[in-house]
C-alpha cells in the first residue's frame, strides 16, 4: 500500500458540504433571500476542532409529552384538532450509519395552516390545544418518532398567489457543530411541493424527493394514526485508513 497511512481520529473531520446539492444562498424566486444572501465567496476550509466538536443533549432533557404535539400544549383531557399522524424515521450519516443521540426539534402550523406566532397574519383559526413545537432524541439505532397532526398548507406573501405545501420544520444536532442542519419535511402526493419557491431553491430534484415523507402503512396504527416515514442524512466523517488496511495488518 502506498500513500498516507496516518489514521484520522475517531471523531475526524466531516466531508465537505456539497454546495451543488444544497440550495444556494440566493434564490430570487424566494424574495426574502435577495437581501439576506451573502454575495462574496465563502471561505472554504477543513474542519478544525471548533467544527468537529458540538453540543450533545441527553435523554434526560425530554419531558413526557415533548414528542407528542397533539397533547403537549393541550388542556387536560383535550387534544389538538387535525389528522393524527406519527412521523418517524432514522437519522443517518452520509456513509449510511445511524447517528444516535441526535436532538430533533420540530415546529409546524396547525391543521388549518396557522402558526402560533405574533407575526402570523393568516386568518385561519388558532387551535387552543396546539402549540406547534416538539422534540425527540434518536436512539442507538438512530431512530426517532413523534406524534402530531398533519399541518395545513397556507398562503404567504411572496408571489401574488404562493402557498406553502404542508410541511414540518426540523432542526438537528449531530455530533459536531458542522453537522448542524435545519430542513423541512413535506408529504407524499402534495401538489404544492413542486410549485413552492422555497422548495425550488433546491437545484436537484433528487434532493427535493429526499425531503418528502412517504405514507407508511406498516407503521400506521389502525383506527388511530397514519404513519409517515422520513429519514434525514447528516454530513459524514472522512473515512479512516483503518478500513483500508490489508488483511493481516
Amino acid at each position: 500500500m502506498t500513500g498516507n497511512t496516518k489514521q484520522m481520529p475517531k471523531d475526524g473531520a466531516f466531508l465537505p458540504r456539497d454546495r451543488n446539492w444544497q440550495p444556494p444562498a440566493l434564490a430570487p424566486a424566494y424574495k426574502s433571500s435577495i437581501l439576506r444572501s451573502p454575495q462574496q465567496a465563502l471561505l472554504s476550509l477543513d474542519n478544525t476542532l471548533s467544527e468537529i466538536t458540538g453540543p450533545v443533549f441527553g435523554h434526560s432533557l425530554l419531558g413526557r409529552l415533548d414528542g407528542d404535539l397533539i397533547h403537549n400544549f393541550a388542556r387536560a383531557g383535550e387534544a389538538a384538532i387535525g389528522e393524527r399522524i406519527i412521523v418517524h424515521g432514522k437519522v443517518l450519516d452520509e456513509a449510511g450509519r445511524p447517528v444516535p443521540s441526535v436532538l430533533l426539534e420540530v415546529w409546524q402550523a396547525n391543521a388549518g395552516g396557522r402558526y402560533r406566532h405574533r407575526n402570523e397574519r393568516y386568518q385561519a383559526s388558532l387551535d387552543p390545544n396546539f402549540g406547534g413545537c416538539g422534540r425527540c432524541i434518536t436512539d442507538e439505532a438512530g431512530r426517532y418518532r413523534f406524534l402530531t397532526v398533519k399541518p395545513g398548507p397556507y398562503p404567504w406573501p411572496n408571489g401574488p398567489n404562493d402557498w406553502r405545501p404542508s410541511h414540518i420544520h426540523f432542526s438537528l444536532f449531530g455530533t459536531g457543530f458542522a453537522q448542524r442542519l435545519i430542513t423541512q419535511m413535506y408529504f407524499e402526493g402534495d401538489p404544492l411541493i413542486w410549485r413552492c419557491p422555497i422548495v425550488r431553491s433546491i437545484p436537484d430534484r433528487r434532493a427535493i424527493e429526499q425531503l418528502i415523507a412517504l405514507l407508511d402503512m406498516e407503521n400506521t396504527i389502525p383506527m388511530d394514526a397514519r404513519a409517515y416515514e422520513f429519514d434525514i442524512v447528516l454530513r459524514g466523517r472522512r473515512s479512516t485508513m483503518f478500513e483500508n488496511r490489508l488483511e493481516g495488518n
Partner: protein
Amino acid sequence: MAEDARRLKESASQTAGPYVHIGLMPNFAGIGGVYDSDLGSAMVNDRTLGERITVTGVIVDGAGAPLKDALIEIWQADAAGLYNSPAETRGAADPNFTGWGRCASHAETGAFIFRTIKPGRVPFIDGRPMAPHITFWIVARGINIGLQTRMYFADEMAANDADPLLLRIESRHRIRTLIAPREGDTYRFDIHLQGDRETVFLDI
C-alpha cells in the same frame, strides 16, 4: 483506495422561516408550558471558570436593516480551550460551562446578546494555536442554509495576526469583519450579510 464514504447525500437545508422561534425558543415565542425553559438560554453559572463577557450585535441585511426574526447560535471552547463535547478528546472541559448558546434577535431592535466567558485557545489542524474565537451559526427567513462564521477578539491582535483561518482570507481588509471591538466587558459583533462590510462566511 479510500472507500466511497458517501453512500447517501446530506439532506438539503431549507430555510428556518419566520416562525423558527416556535420550535427552538417556544417560551420566547409565547408558547409557555411545553418546555421548562428555552434551550441554550444560559451558558454559564456561578461556578463557571473564566472571564465573564457579553457578546452583542445585530445582523444587517443588504438594505442596511437589522434582522428582527433571526436565530443565532454560538459554540465555543471553555476558558482552558476545551470543548464541552463528547468529540473533545484532549481533556475534560469545565462542567459548569456548556459552550453553546442560542438567542433570538430582539423583535424591535434586532440585537442579540450572549452572556458567556472568553474562550481559551484551541489548536488548528496542524497544531498551531488558533486565536480565541466563537463560532456563529445564523438562520432566519430568507436564509436557505445556515450561515457560519467566527467572531475573534479585538484585544487579541497578536494571536489574531497568526491565526490560521484569518491568514487564509485573501482580501486582507475583510479580516476586520470577524473582529469584535471591546468596550468594558462587552464585545460588539455586527454581522453584515451583504455590502462593503459583508462578513466573511465559512464553508467549513
